[in-house]
């Protein structure tokens, strides 16, 4: 199916969905879309740069707390507050990205985790500002600008989140398909060779980390505005682990896959937790099954039947045998 048609059909289906489901399901729908956006932001790192962040909760938490703090002190309209929260997240992400990208592999993962845990610890250290373990509650959603207030209702907020998700997806898609994205593909496949082609790969990685934080911060700000509170758990390593699972289960390097992973995660968690207290055990089993039997994720499974197989090499001399030139 042409992707534009697919996009329009999906967007239309998402727009109609809240009109046909029970009102109490709206909360889950909004959370699912927000977590889908959050997972997609991590996919920029995991799927396109092979940078496994174990601390992406920092982006989510930064966005949420930035929004909460801004709106606590300044009665700004919701869209302005969200944009400012994203800007703050991006500003803080720059030094984090600069430090983390000095390393790769496990070291990168540990550094990102360390920054997220540092943020978590600081929430308790600066209790007067952050509310400590209680977090920040009663975060308002002011109307405006120009008197716009449709996003104050739950249904209206759903559409706001949907617009943010679809807009972010289009932006991310444009990024990964641009010349910038081609360099990211090079970094993912072979960084030394990408350097040998004249690219300052670290600058690209810093930019990608900052972009991922920006989109993650947007998800966090949307969550804080929706839930009306921001708690330290948003920074905690469990949040980072959850979003990494969403990316892997959904299908890394696809953008759509992690969105599906995030949405599936929320619905499964909701359904399973109503049936049994052992739902994390079932979830862990599902995750392991994906890692072992379907590493391409949900999106990979869905699209595998449409994917053409690469043609066979057109000569027998397809393998390197050093010294055979003699």
């Amino acid at each position: 199916m042409n992707w534009r048609l697919g996009f329009v059909v999906t967007a239309a289906a998402c727009a109609v969905l809240p009109l046909v489901v029970p009102q109490h399901s709206l909360t889950i729908l909004v959370e699912a879309l927000i977590l889908g956006l959050f997972a997609m932001s991590l996919d920029l790192l995991v799927g396109y740069c092979r940078l496994y962040s174990f601390g992406h909760a920092a982006a989510y938490g930064l966005g949420a707390y930035s929004y909460a703090l801004i709106l606590t002190y300044v009665p700004l309209p919701l869209p302005v507050g969200i944009l400012l929260a994203v800007a703050v997240t991006i500003l803080i992400a720059i030094p984090i990205a600069w430090i983390c990208t000095r390393s790769t592999g496990v070291s990168f993962a540990m550094l990102t985790l360390a920054f997220a845990q540092l943020g978590y610890a600081m929430l308790f250290r600066f209790r007067d500002v952050t509310g400590g373990s209680d977090g920040l509650v009663g975060i308002p959603r002011h109307p405006g600008p120009l008197g716009i207030d449709w996003f104050q209702s739950k249904l209206g907020y759903y559409y706001l989140v949907l617009v943010c998700l679809l807009g972010s997806y289009l932006l991310c898609r444009a990024i990964v398909r641009s010349p910038f994205g081609a360099v990211l593909a090079g970094i993912r496949e072979n960084e030394p060779k990408t350097i040998a082609l004249g690219y300052n790969t670290r600058a690209y990685k810093i930019t990608t980390v900052v972009l991922a934080y920006g989109f993650g911060g947007l998800a966090g700000a949307l969550y804080a505005a929706f839930a009306g509170f921001a708690s330290p758990e948003l920074f905690f390593w469990l949040t980072s682990g959850r979003v990494l699972i969403m990316v892997i289960v959904g299908g890394a390097g696809t953008l759509i896959g992690p969105i599906l992973g995030g949405v599936s995660f929320v619905f499964l968690e909701h359904q399973l937790s109503q049936v049994t207290d052992l739902w994390p055990l079932i979830f862990g089993t599902i995750f392991m099954a994906f890692v072992m039997f379907a590493p391409q994720g949900i999106w990979g499974i869905l699209t595998s039947r449409f994917r053409s197989k690469p043609a066979a090499p057109n000569s027998d001399s397809g393998k390197e045998a050093p010294g055979a030139a003699t």
């Binding site: 010349p179 081609a182 360099v183 593909a185 090079g186 496949e189 072979n190 030394p192 060779k193 350097i195 040998a196 082609l197 004249g198 690219y199 300052n200 790969t201 690469p310 043609a311 066979a312 090499p313 057109n314 000569s315 001399s317 397809g318 393998k319 390197e320 045998a321 050093p322 010294g323 055979a324 030139a325 003699t326």
Partner: protein
């Protein structure tokens, strides 16, 4: 002015000396070879010259300017290009895209990107493969793409790391002809690293022999083929392998 000058290049890995006091002067337009058995230090030398490894001692000049501390991506932008021993193209991109991603970074001002890609595809006889992905190519074509990617944009010096290995004699001859064409038409200076002399005789006028991290001979292919030190140290007594 020499295009490249290496003086006293040394690289140690702990107690192991991979390259020891290496000297080399390459003039513009020249094709020079560095040969030596496996483990002689040839690839380490390329790693140092291309900026991926810092030398433990010595310095490198490029057109008279010291570039010993210059970072790898900046050397590439200055026209110092290289291929790698193991051909690993970007598998998610087509042949044309592989070359395009390289050309777009180092394209000289006023040069059209599409023209550059088309010219390289034509020069390396890759036109018919432009829309294919690396997995669909033969090894010889993959090596061509690797070279095309290396020279795309601005290239003054091309360092070929065992680009002929794994090819049949016929494929190697074709590739040598194309390298000679690139040298002639684009004015690219070439340094070839190989571990077998016989394939290089048609391409180079001078070559350097590395053995146990040090230079043991420097001369024409004929001189090298008859150098007793090379025969003893590099090839044992099998003189026939040199010719």
């Amino acid at each position: 002015m020499p295009l490249l000058e290496c003086r006293g290049l040394t690289r140690r890995f702990g107690a192991l000396v991979a390259v020891d006091g290496f000297d080399l002067t390459v003039e513009p337009g020249e094709i020079r070879a560095v040969i030596g058995p496996n483990g002689a230090g040839k690839s380490t030398l390329f790693e140092i010259v291309s900026g991926n490894l810092a030398p433990s001692a010595g310095h490198i000049s490029y057109f008279g300017a010291d570039c010993t501390a210059m970072r790898a991506h900046l050397r590439r932008r200055a026209g110092m290009c290289r291929t790698f021993q193991k051909v690993r193209l970007f598998g998610s991109m087509t042949v044309a895209e592989n070359i395009q991603v390289a050309a777009s970074q180092c394209l000289p001002p006023g040069r059209d990107l599409r023209d550059e890609v088309a010219e390289i595809l034509a020069q390396l006889r890759l036109d018919a493969q432009a829309a294919r992905r690396p997995a669909e190519l033969t090894l010889a074509d993959r090596k061509r793409v690797e070279i095309g990617r290396a020279i795309a944009g601005k290239c003054r010096l091309l360092m070929l790391d065992e680009s002929l290995s794994g090819l049949t004699h016929e494929e190697a001859e074709h590739l040598i002809a194309e390298i000679l064409t690139l040298n002639r038409t684009r004015g690219i200076t070439v340094i070839v690293v190989e571990h077998v002399l016989s394939v290089l005789a048609a391409m180079v006028k001078r070559l350097v022999v590395l053995h146990n991290a040090t230079v043991v001979a420097d001369g024409t292919p004929t001189e090298i083929a008859h150098d007793p030190v090379v025969i003893e140290a590099y090839l044992g007594t099998k003189q026939s392998a040199l010719r």
